[in-house]
């Protein structure tokens, strides 16, 4: 499934969890791994200087600088890369998400792996809007699934034995389902088809009684069967779960309870204006709170 994996890195400690996951995945799947680092932003237009992302210093964008940075990346990941033959390290100056997308498109990669943000402060994860703009830019436009890794992932969890597919029945969720289903089939995983009925209280919002909620949940179960189970030919290692609550909270809770190895969701669902669909707020919250990698799907693959 993952013949080509693109690991986009800041080449700093903040990407360690993502690098471990990307390299392990490449080993497991015999994938070609592209390690990509946008090494600086070309602030001077046509000038030859770049602002180094790591140091913030102005650097001269010369072949020497490029090879120095490549060397540093190679050194950073040397121990992990030992058992991996098929990898390449790519660097260039540019707007990171643009260059990540350009490379992903050029090499027709099957998966992009990256960390959630470029800020060193882990505490920032607790707050909204702290996702790095690079990750937002990539998930917004990527044609392949994007795996966001924001916590340490033990090797065995990368077998993806427990996959939670969170749906809101949007068109993009159909695309996310296909990815989750294909992966579950390939890995022989348990696939949880999960929906959380949104009962977030709001001004003027109807307050449901438990009976109404239960009724709704039954209806949703049927809808899951009709929408997804009907497409699973002979695959019976699945489980349908419908909970009520605040969707992101319920998905995260459910994933924890089932010790999920992976959460798969559509990038955004209701927002049709692409510029506003930076990343669905449910997705955003899930990425930040989940204790396993999260895959964002934005296109029918």
């Amino acid at each position: 499934m993952f013949k080509k994996i693109l690991f986009a890195t800041t080449s700093s400690a903040i990407c360690n969890d993502a690098s471990n996951a990307a390299i392990e995945l490449a080993k497991k799947h015999n994938s070609k791994l592209y390690i990509f680092h946008a090494l600086g932003f070309p602030t001077r237009g046509f000038g030859s200087h770049v602002v180094d992302f790591k140091t913030g210093e102005h650097e001269y964008y010369s072949p020497e600088y490029v090879s120095r940075i490549k060397g540093e990346i190679e050194k950073t990941y040397a121990a992990q890369l030992k058992e991996l033959d098929n990898y390449t390290i790519e660097t260039l100056a540019g707007v990171p998400h643009t260059e990540i997308l350009r490379l992903a498109r050029k090499e027709e990669v099957d998966l992009i792996v990256m960390g959630p943000h470029t800020k060193e402060d882990k505490g920032a994860l607790l707050y909204r809007s702290m996702l790095g703009s690079t990750m937002q830019g990539v998930t917004q436009k990527a044609r392949c699934p994007v795996m966001i890794v924001s916590c340490p992932v033990p090797k065995e969890k990368l077998e993806f034995k427990n996959i939670v597919f969170g749906t809101d029945f949007s068109k993009l969720s159909d695309a996310a389902f296909i990815f989750a289903y294909d992966l579950a089939k390939e890995r022989g995983s348990m696939l949880y088809l999960f929906h959380a009925l949104d009962i977030t209280p709001g001004i003027g919002a109807a307050i449901f009684g438990q009976n109404e909620i239960d009724k709704c949940l039954y209806g949703i179960k049927d809808r899951i069967k009709e929408t997804y189970v009907s497409k699973m030919e002979g695959f019976d290692n699945y489980n349908i779960r419908t909970w009520e609550g605040i969707p992101y909270m319920e998905i995260v809770k459910f994933a924890r309870r089932k010790e999920a190895d992976l959460i798969v969701m559509a990038h955004h669902s209701k927002e049709k204006d692409p510029d506003k669909a930076i990343i669905g707020s449910t997705m955003e919250q899930v990425v930040m709170r989940a204790n396993c990698p999260v895959v964002s799907v934005n296109r029918q693959v």
Binding site: T43, R44, G45, F46, G47, S62, R105, D275
Partner: protein
């Protein structure tokens, strides 16, 4: 010449000199220059001799009555002093008075008929690129109509012909020679980027295309190489807006780049070949009009000055040339593009007038009319319109490492202009101005935002019903 030969002999055989009187036309030389930080380049320059014989010939052939008269009739009245932002930003240093700057460089060259030395030429270079952005503001205030900006443009050409040109400018014109673009973006790269941008956006804008080499289109759209290189979304937004406006448009494969670092570098031959590429595309595709992206010097190079470089007697390009702001206004006034008035910018905002298409091409009212469509509280800078100061990064200044300190001092004038408006948002429909304003924020941290027009328009534009994507089935939660 003998001296130069000796210098070259002393070098290892496998190392080509970085400084030379000829433009960079091969990739190997370009790579050598790119690999150099400018250190070796400027060290070499200190020993690089002036070819005085060739200099005399160049002067004879190119220094005509206008320049000679201007140099002679300058009364040294000093009226130009206050017009120059470098003079103002440098505590009114007399050495920054435009007339002094030109008399002490070009004036001396003409007086001595090219009999000058290396140190003199390095000073010329440092003045022509490091103390002047060719914004032409001084020319507006000179009682004799002497335009020091024009003369510095000419001086740059003389410096280039002798090999005394800033490192990045030498590279810039080399890029144009090799790639027909200011950056290493090939035709294949460009076309590929167009395809990519369509793929990224067609789902949201069904029917979106970027027609490449479509013969007979109404509009040929030409960009700045920075867009495909670093900001391909800009190209995507341009395509979306043309699409929503229902325009018949195309982008050329060959001739897609409208800018000219060759103009900033003073590489006259390169200016000619660069603009002829664009004109050839206009003729090949038989388009009705040209629209260039949000770039000031692109308009100057292709529409204002280009026709003369290409030897066009009419002084016009082969088809009428519009700056992007002209197309936007036309689309707004004719109703091709409709904006949602509720989405107008609410916070106070100001507008940067780019020298190249405002002072030097008279598009003063166009941007103001656009502002009336997009902003609720538009506040003018002072001075403004054709009197506006250069952003501080024009004429190649933004890109030259050697003059970074000087550039940053010069930015103070724009900083104070923006601060005086009391706004925190600057609309800038020019790449160079956009860069300078961004750098200004980086250096002085005055807490401003800045934007091109395209992203603002995309935010506000009303998508006609027939161009909207089909509604998907609503989710269970709705």
């Amino acid at each position: 010449m003998a001296e130069e030969a000796k210098t070259q002999e002393e070098k290892p055989q496998d190392k080509r000199p970085l400084v030379s009187r000829v433009p960079v036309k091969d990739k190997e030389m370009l790579d050598l220059l790119l690999a150099d930080r400018g250190v070796t380049y400027y060290e070499e320059m200190k020993k690089f001799p002036v070819d005085t014989e060739a200099f005399k010939k160049t002067l004879d052939a190119s220094c005509k009555s206008r320049i000679r008269t201007w140099l002679k009739i300058c009364a040294h009245c000093g009226m130009c002093a206050d017009t120059c932002f470098f003079y103002l930003a440098n505590d009114r240093d007399p050495k920054q008075v435009p007339s002094y700057k030109i008399q002490s460089t070009l004036g001396e060259i003409v007086k001595r008929n090219g009999d000058v030395d290396t140190d003199f030429m390095i000073n010329c270079m440092d003045t022509a690129w490091g103390k002047c952005t060719c914004c032409n503001r001084c020319g507006m205030y000179c009682p004799h109509g002497i335009d020091m900006g024009v003369m510095f443009g000419y001086t740059r050409g003389l410096c280039f012909s002798q090999g005394f040109v800033p490192h990045e400018m030498k590279i810039g014109s080399g890029m144009h020679w090799i790639f027909n673009a200011q950056m290493d973006v090939t035709v294949e790269d460009y076309v590929e980027t167009c395809e990519w941008m369509v793929e990224e956006n067609e789902e949201y804008y069904p029917g979106l295309t970027i027609p490449v080499d479509k013969v007979g289109a109404d509009i040929m759209y030409v960009v700045n190489a920075r867009e495909p290189k670093h900001y391909p979304q800009d190209l995507a937004v341009a395509a979306i807006l043309f699409h929503l406006a229902g325009e018949s448009w195309t982008v050329p494969s060959k001739g897609w780049e409208g800018t000219s670092l060759a103009m900033f570098a003073g590489d006259w031959a390169c200016c000619k070949q660069q603009v002829e590429n664009v004109y050839a595309a206009m003729e090949r595709l038989k388009v009705k009009r040209y629209v260039g992206t949000e770039c000031g010097h692109q308009h100057r190079a292709t529409i204002t000055e280009g026709p003369y470089w290409a030897g066009r007697k009419s002084g016009d390009p082969p088809v009428p040339g519009l700056h992007y702001v002209e197309w936007v206004l036309e689309a707004l006034e004719t109703g091709k593009l409709k904006l949602d008035p509720a989405k107008k910018i609410k916070e106070p905002c100001t507008l940067q007038d780019p020298c190249n298409y405002v002072r030097n091409h008279g598009l003063t009212d166009v941007t103001r009319k656009i502002m009336s469509y997009i902003a609720e509280d538009f506040r003018e800078m002072s001075p403004n319109r054709e009197h506006n100061f250069c952003c501080g990064g024009g004429g190649g200044m933004n890109g030259i490492g050697r003059y970074r300190k000087e550039r940053n001092i010069g930015l103070k004038v724009k900083r104070d202009q923006i601060l005086a408006t009391g706004t925190k948002f600057v609309v800038s429909a020019c790449h160079n101005c956009w860069d300078a304003i961004r750098d200004l924020e980086e250096v002085y941290k005055i807490g401003i935002k800045w934007s091109f027009l395209k992203p603002i328009l995309l935010e506000m534009v009303i998508v006609p019903d027939h161009l909207k994507p089909k509604e998907e089935e609503e989710g269970a939660n709705e």
